[in-house]
């Protein structure tokens, strides 16, 4: 299998006043194409810090990170921006859509910064991505006219539109109710089934059951890294949920 992500003894220290905070204390793992990895751990264990490394938003204090075979650590700010633009799709807990902007324009955003994509192709790809996440009928709705679940779908479409090597999600279901969370999870499982590489940071241990691999962090170190032999179907779980009542 092709290695998408290779971390070699990654450390990340923060200087806070006189004190040095060791957020990551030597993390090494390899993620291959098509894996759906959940990253868990208590608050402050370094999950977001790790995701920022993976997403090329931050550089490690030491260690090496290869994304799609490309070493990232010595890259300049500008080069990392381009790398994010071509190889990474982010999904955030609070959606982070542009306010008062249509779904299509939101999804187009990453392609706006890629000058090799024409305006026509950009719109087509945005529409295709929105159709893929089930929002084909809401292309021109503005972000403030949508529900949380819909906004997160738009965000996922935005993460898909540049056909990234890896999709990174930080608490992507953290703001949603159980039912909507499962709907989003179904979407992620479908993307996984299509062969996409997904890294999903979560607090919720239940979600680990729907992924193919689970990494647990503690205090900036890997405490556990296990493949999941029995991946549950989120679609089944969704069907088993009690139907929402109208009186609710």
């Amino acid at each position: 299998m092709k290695k998408v992500i290779e971390l070699i003894n990654i450390k990340r220290n923060f200087q806070v006043g006189d004190e040095v905070v060791h957020a990551l204390r030597g993390i090494s793992f390899t993620i291959c194409e098509g894996e759906f990895v959940t990253i868990m751990g208590t608050s402050g264990s370094g999950k977001s810090t790790l995701l920022n490394q993976l997403g090329c938003l931050d550089t490690p204090t030491s260690g090496e990170y290869l994304l799609d075979g490309v070493p990232v650590r010595r890259m300049k700010r500008r080069e990392r921006a381009v790398l994010r633009n071509r190889k990474i799709g982010f999904v955030f807990q609070n959606y982070n859509l542009l306010p008062k902007t249509t779904a299509v324009e939101n999804v187009e955003l990453p392609l706006m910064y890629n000058s090799s994509v024409s305006a026509r192709e950009r719109t087509q790809r945005a529409i295709r991505a929105l159709e893929r996440v089930g929002l084909g009928s809401r292309l021109y709705h503005k972000s403030n006219q949508m529900s949380g679940g819909q906004m997160q779908r738009v965000a996922i479409a935005r993460a898909l539109v540049n056909d990234p090597a890896v999709i990174l999600a930080d608490e992507a279901t953290g703001n949603l109710d159980t039912r909507t969370s499962f709907e989003i999870l179904v979407l992620f499982q479908e993307l996984h089934a299509e062969g996409r590489t997904i890294i999903f940071v979560t607090h919720n241990p239940e979600i680990a059951q729907y992924s193919s691999r689970n990494i647990v962090l503690r205090d900036g170190q890997i405490k556990e890294d296990k493949l999941n032999p029995h991946i549950l179907s989120a679609a089944d779980a969704l069907a088993a949920l009690p139907k929402p009542t109208d009186e609710d």
Partner: protein, 417 residues
């Protein structure tokens, strides 16, 4: 390879414009408020310049129309604009005999007329109007380049006998004869004195100070001096030199004659003032230039305030849009992309504000002209200048906030609440 790079560059600039436009469109009120300062600044620069230039041009036009060879003699020593006038005695130094002396002896003069005037109410039947009565000789028409629309000028004979006749301006005619009757031969009353209208002047419209040049009544100076005012002195003597070149010679000649007639010693100062139309024009131009400069300063200040407004709102909006900037960076916007976006936004806003400001400025100039009768002239360079200034303002004041936005740390920016 080279052409592809070029094409990509073009495309990325087009994309940045699109990004900036979308950001502006997503926040219409904020964008409008940003532009407001520039709109007001540009509009006031254009209006002020239009008023300044308009009055200057109209002064010039008036002078060339009046003839640049006009000479005015006034009593007393005029210390120039703002200089204090002397007491009443000094204002009575010009007598009728001075006029007669100049009329017979002065060289280089083509026409000469004394001038005495009185303001008051003119009455005819139920209609009345306030106006000014000028006591003059028939030469006055030549000197001021006035023409008759109807009737005739009173004659030298009328002057000799102090006939109760007058020639009225268009405004006075309209006010006293509102129903379009023929004023010729009719009698109008000034205080208790009845004056028979013998002629109506051709309309000259408003002058550069917004004064109605048709609001006047002309009568023989003898009539005004004896019957209306009962005075023996003159308010002035107006003449015109034979040609413009002879103006200076004529002035010298008049001064010599008057000093002689007033029995002034060599050490005495003149007790009269002689001014040529050219001098007057220069004086008025200086005044109007000063006014224009002052107005322009005020307008420029408002343009700068407008620019600071842009900077202020851009600066606040960088803070307000921190999350948006973080998001853009996380999906691959480089620092230069963010910088360009904010700069383009600032320039677009200031240019759009500039265009609206130009429209408002032109509109205001036209309105000032129509409502206050001030002459205006919009100079093309003032439009171009204010345009250039507002684009420069956009870049200058947009730069700092844009730079600040570009340097944000994406992780902190996206976490920002």
């Amino acid at each position: 390879m080279k052409t592809k790079e070029l094409k990509d560059k073009k495309m990325s600039i087009a994309n940045l414009f699109k990004i900036a436009l979308r950001a502006i469109a997503a926040n219409k009120l904020r964008s409008f408020l940003t532009m407001l300062g520039i709109i007001i600044g540009v509009a006031s620069v254009i209006t002020m310049l239009a008023i300044g230039q308009g009055s200057k041009r109209s002064i010039q036009a008036q002078i060339s129309e009046m003839g640049s060879n006009m000479i005015m003699v006034r009593p007393g020593q005029d210390k120039g604009p703002g200089g204090a006038r002397q007491d009443a005695d000094e204002m009575q130094t010009l007598k009728l005999k001075d006029y007669e002396l100049l009329k017979t002896n002065a060289k280089y003069l083509a026409a000469i007329s004394p001038s005495v005037n009185a303001s008051g109410q003119f009455v005819r039947g139920n209609n009345n109007t306030p106006s000014t009565l000028y006591g003059i000789s028939p030469d006055y028409l030549t000197i001021r380049q006035l023409k008759l629309d109807d009737g005739e000028m009173f004659t030298d004979e009328d002057v000799r006998v102090g006939a109760k006749v007058c020639v009225i301006g268009k405004t006075v005619a309209d006010n006293l004869f509102p129903n379009g009757e023929d004023p010729i031969g009719q009698v109008v009353r000034f205080t208790t004195i009845p004056l028979r209208v013998v002629g109506v002047l051709e309309s000259k419209g408003y002058n550069s100070f917004g004064m109605d040049q048709d609001d006047l009544v002309l009568a023989p100076y003898t009539t005004v001096m004896k019957r209306v005012l009962a005075v023996t002195y003159l308010e002035g003597i107006n003449c015109s030199a034979v040609t413009e070149d002879m103006t200076d010679l004529a002035i010298e000649d008049i001064a010599t004659l008057l000093r002689e007639s007033h029995k002034l010693k060599a050490t005495d100062e003149d007790n009269f003032t002689i001014r040529s139309q050219q001098e007057m024009a220069e004086m008025m131009n200086t005044t109007s230039d000063l006014m224009t400069t002052l107005l322009l300063c005020v307008a420029c200040i408002s343009l700068i305030v407008g620019g600071i407004g842009i900077m202020n709102i851009m600066y606040v909006s960088v803070t307000e849009r921190t999350k948006e900037i973080g998001l853009r960076m996380s999906v691959g916007a480089r620092g230069i992309d963010i910088l360009s976006q904010f700069l383009i936004e600032a320039v677009m806003l200031s240019v759009t504000g500039g265009i609206i400001g130009v429209l408002f400025g032109v509109g205001a100039s036209v309105a000032v002209n129509a409502l206050a009768h001030w002459p205006v002239f919009i100079q093309p360079w003032s439009v171009i200048l204010s345009f250039a200034v507002c684009t420069a303002t956009g870049v200058f004041f947009g730069w700092y906030p844009a730079k600040k936005a570009a340097q944000l740390d994406p992780i902190e920016a996206i976490r920002y609440e």
